[in-house]
Symmetry: C2
Subunit: 440 residues, 2 copies
Amino acid sequence: MTRNDAQALDTADPLAALRDQFDLPAGLIYLDGNSLGPLPRATARRVAEAVQQEWGQQLIGAWSGAGWIDLPQRIGDRIGKLLGAGPGELVVADSTSVNLYKVLSAALSLVQLREPASGEGRRVILTEAGNFPTDLYIAQSLAAERGFELQRVDPADLRNRLSQQGNGTDVAVLMLTHVNYRSGQLHDMAALSAAAHAAGALTVWDLAHSVGALPVDLHEDGADFAIGCGYKYLNGGPGAPAFVWAHPRHLPKLRQPLAGWMGHAAPFDFSPGFEPASGMARFLCGTPPVLSMVALACGVDTVLAAEAHGGMAALRKKSLVLTRLFADKVSADCPLLQVVSPAADSERGSQVCLTPIAGQEALAWPVVQALIARGVVGDFRAGDPNQPPGSIGAIDILRFGFTPLTLRHVDAWDAAEHLRQVIDSGEWRQPAFLHRNTVT
Amino acid sequence: MTRNDAQALDTADPLAALRDQFDLPAGLIYLDGNSLGPLPRATARRVAEAVQQEWGQQLIGAWSGAGWIDLPQRIGDRIGKLLGAGPGELVVADSTSVNLYKVLSAALSLVQLREPASGEGRRVILTEAGNFPTDLYIAQSLAAERGFELQRVDPADLRNRLSQQGNGTDVAVLMLTHVNYRSGQLHDMAALSAAAHAAGALTVWDLAHSVGALPVDLHEDGADFAIGCGYKYLNGGPGAPAFVWAHPRHLPKLRQPLAGWMGHAAPFDFSPGFEPASGMARFLCGTPPVLSMVALACGVDTVLAAEAHGGMAALRKKSLVLTRLFADKVSADCPLLQVVSPAADSERGSQVCLTPIAGQEALAWPVVQALIARGVVGDFRAGDPNQPPGSIGAIDILRFGFTPLTLRHVDAWDAAEHLRQVIDSGEWRQPAFLHRNTVT
């Protein structure tokens, strides 16, 4: 594919106009929307309105007068549309980590409630070895507290572990991030959920790298619980509040330990005993950070705007073209790098991950820095020397996220071309690029 | 005291200029800063800068470039100054409810660690009957989960309960809100902490209605753990993030269950096993909501600005004059109402609470609405019919918070005068004021 071919794809792109919802710095090719989505044009004005008109003028009255009190539900309903969830099924609250604690705890309680007699038998929280650390930490903490065990297995072994041969009947919960943050591998949510259910386990899906990037249908795909992040493909702003969903069939039986007043059946009765709200509001806890909530609402709207142009299916289609275009050009032009994200469309999220070939490990960090200096922003993920040699967890990763809402095909082409030039010219060897920060 | 006397107090007030830090709606007398502090003038510009320059232009680079990553510690250090806490002792994170869950859980674990043999003996979380509901709910949840019992006693009985006569040695944790949200009663933190320690218990103090309103010295006053709220007297904005403190002597032994990646010793190593940060950062969990954090920083600065004029001691002195002025004038001029907040300065927080005299219960709700219509904003707290008749929890409360940073003495006088007029004129009987909302 030539640059002209990429330009032709942009000309024909039915989603091209959606980019105008953002005010990106001129000349920047931003391939880190999977860490922090860019600023929508509408956000600055909306946040200023919430600060000056709502807080400043209405003060305490804004909780009802400006509708702050319903923000967790109203934004939740809008995110739900992207995930096949009906109205009232999903709420916005707290952070992804805190929400994982809530749903994983609720899931473990549900397992214990279902099988009081076989309490000894079903003690495993199953996940993949390279799941995002905060998910692993929260699960470790809950497992220790509640007498469960977190088992991390290679993603290729998950289905076998859930089968009869794998003694899957000791699994209480299958907890996975739908798209792996390092490898970009997309799990088959429907197949893995079915395998978990066949083993009698519940499923908890972290949609941090899925929501806003690819279609998900929580009901069809067999999720029991889901959580996700507001600041990646939802463009909700730095540290935007997260979301939480539970399958409505479980809801009446669910208790979560962070039983704060916003999750009470009647929070403004101020009664001394906790009574959970009848719906998903029982997964709320304290007072939500309103300024960050209104910014999140603007971000969610940028994704919902795609509905008129084919919605998540169209965004996914474009995302796959962008990632394939980039990966193919890198494969052709950058022999010192190899693509480690899956080549098959059905197994790839909205990112492309590269690693240096053997002997060229010194490239990884400085190449990312040299690209940033050129205005091509991806990120670097260090390998963990404690992981099995050669495994995805052990190798350094050059990570490039492709947000189909903001990126043009020509951006993907140009990014790959910059990468080629940075390596071929030796530009990456400049001293300024060699010093490695610990915070990335 | 006449209105002229109140004006004379304003003329002589060394803190008067601090009011100019806020942009209050013209003519409003805002007596609900203990629900939501008013908007500081500096906030709109700072939030806009964080949105447009930092997020919009620096994107992911702003985490280090704009210092977002250190906000929990940097704002925490500034709040710590108001509470006698040293640098690094306090962090900003999550909501008050979530932080209570962390510290109460850590406190219970510490008790179990200290007294593994007497695990059966020390099983009580002691609190006052009318503590803020979210504190009660979180404590109920943890008590049930961890095999403890929440005991709610009359505030007057707390010290006896902690004594030998009261069999205080079964108390694991004394958990109190320093100033009661309904009655305005200020607990003697030093004396109660000493009584708790004498019984071998730990102390958890909720400073929601203290921080920014009155001096607290966490070390001198014997706190083991403290949490508090950013959106009341700290003027941090709606749902502003909360804070959490633990005594440094306990820190090395403390584990909290919400073990998210921001609480890891090296969050950017992305290692699969959780290792808590060496300092208070171990009480962090997920990614903080940056836009709400920067607004909180502006709010904290409005209180720190008092340092040049006598600091928290001067603010407390003014607060007591304001509340006494209002309470005295109401007592003199409004015979249908009685003051239920403590008359003694040493027992009163920064609010005045009223209730109708017997037979006049119908006044409470509509009087508050009629005052709001006049631009005097207090709030109404409904009595709970399930509480003991005549107790503070059973009666309807007209609640007026006095933020010494923004209020003039003449505001306190005028508010009491409006109250007199609303009652004497029968204005409160207008149909518009009689309809009672459930959300207040």
